[in-house]
């Protein structure tokens, strides 16, 4: 049993480190609508986009993965959110090099930057926050990371790049995510295949449950589920998150520039 486990871990980790990107192309744009659902009464909160584009430096071409969230105008006077998460990754393997997070949530502002150094397995982080009196303060750190640690945005895209068609129902895999300068383990479980209706048509989907280890945010009892289309693009079309009263939902509105 132990031998089986070790070999499984080894197999998975080898998959992780040499996984080729066959799913994500530059110029892809996915738009979602985030809403709050209370016993069937859906209130739309914000628009979420996931975009990719090619970025050229003098030495190489990188893929820029960008996620933004912006509240709808009716919410702006109550609680305005303008979030930006982006990651610059290798187009071949989706390995992150630079990660930026710039959030503005109801006046709370924070900026985070991670620079990945894969040779020394460290991340140089920079945190910039606004003090109450309006001045900035910075916090620089160097964090030791695991070989397979990624940032949040890259992890999202990496999940899309997994060979889910090779997995069988009930399989699970762990990912290490660097968030708020801490390594967090996210667990993904393949629940089933399901056909659901979406704004981009009827889609056969992989139903995956997400949970965060040792956290109250996303608990591990299959309450937080994400549906990825069961084709080569593996677009996230629907996600559902359980919260104290009611649930949060993320529904796709449009998808453009897909690879397959």
């Amino acid at each position: 049993m132990r031998l089986l486990l070790i070999s499984a871990v080894f197999f998975l980790s080898s998959l992780l480190s040499f996984a080729q990107n066959n799913t994500i192309a530059s110029g892809e744009k996915l738009t979602f609508s985030a809403s709050y659902n209370m016993s069937g009464l859906l209130t739309e909160l914000a628009q979420v986009t996931m975009e990719t584009s090619a970025v050229k430096t003098s030495k190489s071409t990188l893929l820029k993965l960008k996620c933004t969230a912006a509240t709808y105008s009716k919410w702006d006077s109550f609680f305005k959110i303008r979030d930006l998460y982006e990651s610059y990754v290798s187009p071949k393997t989706l390995t992150p090099f630079l990660y930026n997070r710039d959030i503005n949530e109801g006046g709370y502002k924070k900026f985070m930057k991670y620079k990945f150094d894969h040779k020394s397995k460290t991340v140089a982080s920079l945190k910039r926050k606004k003090r109450r009196d309006g001045t900035d303060w910075e916090d620089k750190k160097t964090i030791k990371i695991d070989a397979s640690t990624r940032d949040l945005v890259t992890t999202l895209y990496h999940i899309r790049n997994l060979d889910i068609h090779k997995a069988s129902i009930g399989d699970s895999q762990n990912f290490t995510v660097l968030f708020d300068t801490k390594e967090t383990v996210i667990s993904l479980k393949y629940l089933s295949k399901e056909t659901i209706n979406t704004a981009i048509g009827k889609q056969e989907c992989y139903k995956l449950a997400i949970s965060i280890r040792n956290s109250n945010v996303l608990k591990g009892n299959n309450d937080n589920v994400i549906w990825l289309t069961a084709d080569k693009n593996k677009i996230p079309v629907y996600a559902k998150f359980k919260i104290a009263v009611g649930s949060g939902e993320l529904k796709i509105k449009s998808a453009a520039g897909l690879k397959h």
Partner: protein, 111 residues
């Protein structure tokens, strides 16, 4: 009994009105329905006594206003993103900054 229903009816109607004004207006349907039920219950319990029905009328009035507002909002307000100019500016600025950083980084694409 009647008093209890009047109080509950008022509370529900006021919650419905407050919710109807906020962007969370769709949820106002829940207290609206509760207020209507309590209103009917008040009428029912006070049927034969010939008492004043002013409070019940007020409950119904508030609930109808809340329902009208909520329905109007649900039908005519579409969800649109407000101004994202700041966000776009920030994106551009960040991309410039990041490009500079990336130039200085030692990048191995096959990693």
């Amino acid at each position: 009994m009647k008093k209890l229903f009047i109080i509950l009816g008022f509370v529900a109607a006021i919650i419905a009105l407050i919710l109807a004004v906020t962007p969370l207006s769709k949820i106002a349907y829940i207290p609206s329905i509760a207020a209507l039920i309590f209103g009917v219950l008040v009428l029912y319990t006070a049927k034969n006594k010939g008492e004043s029905k002013k409070s019940v009328q007020l409950i119904f009035l508030m609930t109808i206003i809340a329902l009208a507002l909520t329905t109007y909002k649900a039908l005519f307000n579409t969800a649109e993103v407000g101004d994202t100019e700041q966000l776009e500016q920030k994106e551009e600025q960040l991309e410039e900054e990041s490009l500079e950083e990336l130039e200085n980084l030692d990048i191995d694409e096959d990693l």
